[in-house]
Assembly symmetry: C2
Homo-oligomer: 652 residues x 2
């Protein structure tokens, strides 16, 4: 007889708060959980550079080396910079926390807006690019990108609602698999190239039809745009510094070590893939016609071309590469599923977000934040029709806003430490070093932010430039609201509850039957100063009928019949109640509503429509309390008994 | 400062019940309101016959004469039959009422299901065919059929929500315009043909590529299918007998006269259009390729071809014909907007439908029924992509089910009258005549129902054959539910309200602030037998903080702190309340919930989430009353004041 509870099947049984410690992460699980985003982005970062440079034709492709080198340098700087944050903020040093403590509320909320936007973008971009990896391998799925992407977001949501540790195990396999297959590919390529073989990509002989000739300033701008696009490789680096509290002790050290490991993997994989792409002469373009191919021709991603060329006739390894690439890309979204709810909870704690986002759900994850992120990502995927090229334009801006604010905040943090006389002498050397690292990081990321803004604004990034201030204002508004409410409900410590001097009670009557009599008996039990019943009649016949029934039952209180020429129930009652409540003699007025309770949702629309509307309106009438006296119909009793039996069965 | 109220702008100010008499209809307005459906169907009935016969090639087109003759005969019989109903049921004699009184509940509900389905079909088919008349005249609108159709349904809904009399005026123009232009067309054709001119339709020389050769039984079946399709001309005939109470006095006589006038117009227009179609040799087919035209060629409707051929170079008259045709077709849907809500109200009165459908809205129309009909029609239009050829297959079955039941019911009605010794001798002759008319009507419509079922079932009508029993069962279910509820709440006349022996009150506490203190004061004012406060804490620190605040304010009642390891608020409180309610000493338990009231809908999600979920669950707990003690925040007071100012402005 036990009813299946869909929530329990999908997310598991509730967990005790005391088990929170058990879900702390060892480094080997923290790496895939927090780093699938930065690691997976090497799957497309090289291609993004090539795509932009292709606008200028084959002649410009050599600039890829410079762009890639700049990105590698930037990666090293940013990772070094964030390692300082892990040490300085073992309680979790996301851009929001660091900005908040060092740069003030405006900077903190700017960082928060940037991060929130970027978490949503991470989910959308990663899932969509993972799905396109799948559809390029299985062309039969080609027109179902939106449905597949949404299905994967739902899957990730359910996994995350189950809780962080279990999801870590699931995520370890494709992330480590991706790293291993990429390194295996490098090894095979090294052996083959080292033994004098020539390897060329399938697209090496395709022409690239340039959009135009780029010289002078235009060339510089195009190179900057290529660099900016390649900066997708940096997204998600901040996730570890945000998630320090989820690490096992020593938290800060473990987090910094994991960050360094991630940096090493990212840099080597990105550099290797870029080198192979240049060696194999991979040619890509946004549209197949730019490669001299007929419109609609399916082209492979740069990474797929490199894999196919490297592994040659070992088709199995090529398909394995595609599979782990798709896997790690989709799981990259998980970085956001860890970061977004945690940030939302911190914002809710600081009263910048609705308080439902503050608490952990019954599986110890911030369930509401997880669901909110999933909804936003699904909306974005559906709105952009799961097209990666359009989505990716919205990416990165938020990342560099938060990078810049976070590093600037760290600079201020160390300067304050130096200024404090309490700082011991032997630490000052370290602090000077950390300050220098963060200062370089702040300067570099600020510069890149300007480049990204300049080169991507007209390609869709303006949407982000609109969304961030809106989020900023929304958070300010929520805080202002909560502050106002707190001021309004605050009472002096010596305030005592005040008993109303006179209590008037009105019982609403629709017909004279058992629920009404029960409500009247209840109201009489309250021993109010005055007690009346009130009803509505559309015409004299109805009024006479009600009056007759009332006299039959003689309930011992007067019945006031309101005339309602418009056959409306809510309006006249509301007017009557407001009139009573406004009388000077009334101190407190209670309205008793007899309510039918039915057992099935589909029975609900058959009853209580007027009661529902009336209750909603009466809430806004000052000095009026609303009392629901429910009358359980048999179907409700049945439903209640079934539920009781079920919970008894669960406990037994 | 007066706020614009969207509802008032769209549907007008509320009307007093006393003004109901003013909305009664003179015959000249009743005709367009109740008859736009049967009148407009002549615009496509002929074409439906031709379309089916075209499947057998040009050779079979002469069968159109026979099909049309049979339909004219059927029209005369059905109209004569329904005139008897108007006389016998001046209070409104729809198929439901007649079946209910004479054939019992099962027949009545069958008729009701058939009518409800058909009203929805009328709206969908009429609006879609009206829109296709527009799109054939204005090809630029060709791909927007669904949006246009939905827009017209919304327009009709708003007009009907305004009320019946005003809509009558609007509808008179296109209906009478349609009749006049058709008669004008007949006059022009008569003069031109009488003076020896030869008129041929634009499609007269097109071949018809037959689907196959029809001989023997197949030929009979095709002829029957053509006849069944032409029977669309009969839809809506019953609307007048349903709407007798809306006529001015003498209601029955006026209704019967209007019905006769409608019959004369329908028969002459249908016969005339069919005769012209045959004379001009109009060729139509479901697909242009069957006429030897390239796929996708736009073809004109039969009526448009007749109009173009008749009016020749008088293009103005041709466009006028198209305009009034489109107008009358879209307004034909209005027949259903009158019939459906009235039938739904009768069903609600008999407790077969939710009681919200019973009452007239504040504009004296059955608003909920109007909205329900509109929603169903929109769903159908969207689901069938506004394709007339697919929608029209679902039509007619319901019509003939209700015709048959209605006429059979009338036969029983007259037989009962003859059997009654109270019937005066001089009336018996009339009754014999009426009985004979209705018996012929019942037999004819039953025969046609069989033909329609046989020939249309596999072409989509099966959907209706499924929908009708579902509606039937739904109505039975609603009645059973209301009957059960009525039995459960019924009390003996001498039952008096019972005052609970012991009253326990629990105040829910989230924090110690003004709303909580207000609720405690209120609860103390109830003078209960016991009074406790209860709160939830996730950990010991929170519990200690709450206990401290409680002691500061010393509210004079004990605070029970529930431990909630899952950080859940609703579950532990519910369990605690259920425990208290189940104690033998508890006779009545009230739960007092302090509730924040905010002034803006967007502030709502920031508060009271737990209170809302708790209230929904507490309703189902036997012996528990829920008391909302609202605490108005300033924004709520502001909203309230603005509303008061507005209503003062309206009254002043």
């Amino acid at each position: 007889m036990r009813r299946i509870n869909a929530k329990r099947v999908l997310v598991g049984e509730p967990l005790d708060t005391a088990r929170l410690g058990e879900t702390l992460l060892p480094k080997r699980l923290a790496l895939p959980i927090f780093c699938s985003d930065p690691l997976s982005s090497v799957a497309y970062a090289t291609e993004e550079i090539l795509l932009i440079l292709a606008l200028g034709g084959v002649a410009l492709l050599h600039l890829t080396w410079y762009a890639a080198a700049a990105i590698v340098f930037l990666l090293v700087v940013v990772i070094a910079s964030y390692r300082q944050t892990c040490h300085a903020y073992p309680g979790g040093g996301g851009a929001y926390v660091v900005s908040s403590e060092n740069l003030g509320q405006t900077a903190a909320l700017t960082a928060a807006s940037a991060l929130l936007v970027d978490y949503v973008m991470t989910v959308a971009v990663s899932v969509v690019s993972g799905v396109s990896a799948i559809t390029s391998a299985v062309p039969a799925l080609n027109d179902h990108e939106v449905v597949l992407s949404v299905a994967f977001v739902v899957l990730l949501t359910l996994m995350n609602l189950r809780g962080v540790r279990e999801s870590g195990r699931v995520f370890a396999i494709p992330t480590y698999g991706f790293v291993l297959v990429i390194y295996l590919m490098f090894a095979v390529a090294a052996v083959r190239l080292g033994t004098g073989q020539t390897i060329r990509a399938e697209s090496a002989d395709l022409p690239i039809i340039a959009e135009g000739t780029y010289t002078g300033l235009a060339l510089v701008f195009l190179a900057m745009r290529a660099f900016a696009s390649g900066c997708t490789a940096l997204t998600g680096v901040e996730a570890i510094s945000n998630g320090v509290p989820a690490f096992r002790k020593p938290k800060a050290k473990n987090a910094a070590t994991t960050l360094a490991a991630m940096g090493f993997l990212s840099v080597t994989m990105f550099a290797g893939i870029t080198a192979l792409a240049m060696t194999y002469e991979v040619h890509v373009a946004a549209d197949p016609t730019e490669l001299g191919l007929p419109p609609g021709t399916a082209t492979s991603t740069a990474l797929a071309q490199i894999g196919r060329a490297t592994f040659g006739s070992w088709h199995f390894l090529f398909y394995l590469l595609q599979a782990v690439t798709a896997g790690v890309l989709i799981l990259a979204a998980n970085t956001a599923f860890n970061g977004f709810p945690m940030l939302a909870s911190i914002l809710a704690r600081d009263r910048f977000a609705p308080r439902q986002l503050y608490n952990r759900g019954d599986r110890l994850v911030y369930s509401n934040g997880v669901v909110l992120l999933a909804l936003a990502a699904v909306a974005l995927i559906v709105a952009f029709d799961a097209e990666l090229t359009r989505l990716i334009q919205l990416y990165i801006i938020g990342v560099f806003v938060s990078f810049t604010l976070s590093q600037s905040g760290m600079v201020r943090h160390w300067r304050k430490a130096l200024a404090s006389p309490a700082t011991p002498r032997e630490e000052r050397v370290h602090i000077h070093r950390r300050l220098a690292i963060n200062a370089v990081g702040a300067a570099m990321t600020a510069l890149v932010l300007v480049i990204v803004l300049l080169t991507k604004f007209t390609h869709g990034a303006w949407l982000v430039v609109i969304a961030m201030p809106l989020l900023f204002l929304g958070m300010k508004g929520v805080r202002r609201h909560y502050d106002q409410v707190a001021r309004q409900v605050d009472v002096a410590p010596d305030t005592r509850p005040r008993r109303p001097a006179r209590h008037h009670v009105v019982v609403l009557v629709a017909a004279v039957h058992a629920p009404t009599l029960k409500a009247i008996g209840y109201a009489q039990g309250l021993r109010p100063d005055t007690l009346t019943a009130v009803t509505v009649a559309a015409d004299e016949a109805e009024a006479a009928r009600l009056r007759g029934a009332w006299e039959d039952h003689d309930p011992g209180l007067p019945l006031k019949i309101l005339h309602s020429p418009y056959r409306e129930v809510v309006g006249p009652i509301l007017a009557h109640v407001e009139e009573l409540a406004a009388e000077p003699a009334t101190d407190m007025l209670s309205v008793v509503i007899p309510e039918y309770v039915v057992g099935h949702w589909w029975e609900q629309p058959l009853h209580n429509q007027n009661a529902l509307r009336l209750k909603a309106r009466l809430l806004f009438t000052p000095g009026v309390a609303v009392i629901d006296v429910p009358y359980l119909l048999e179907s409700a009793k049945g439903a209640k008994a079934a539920e009781a039996a079920e919970s008894a069965g669960r406990e037994g």
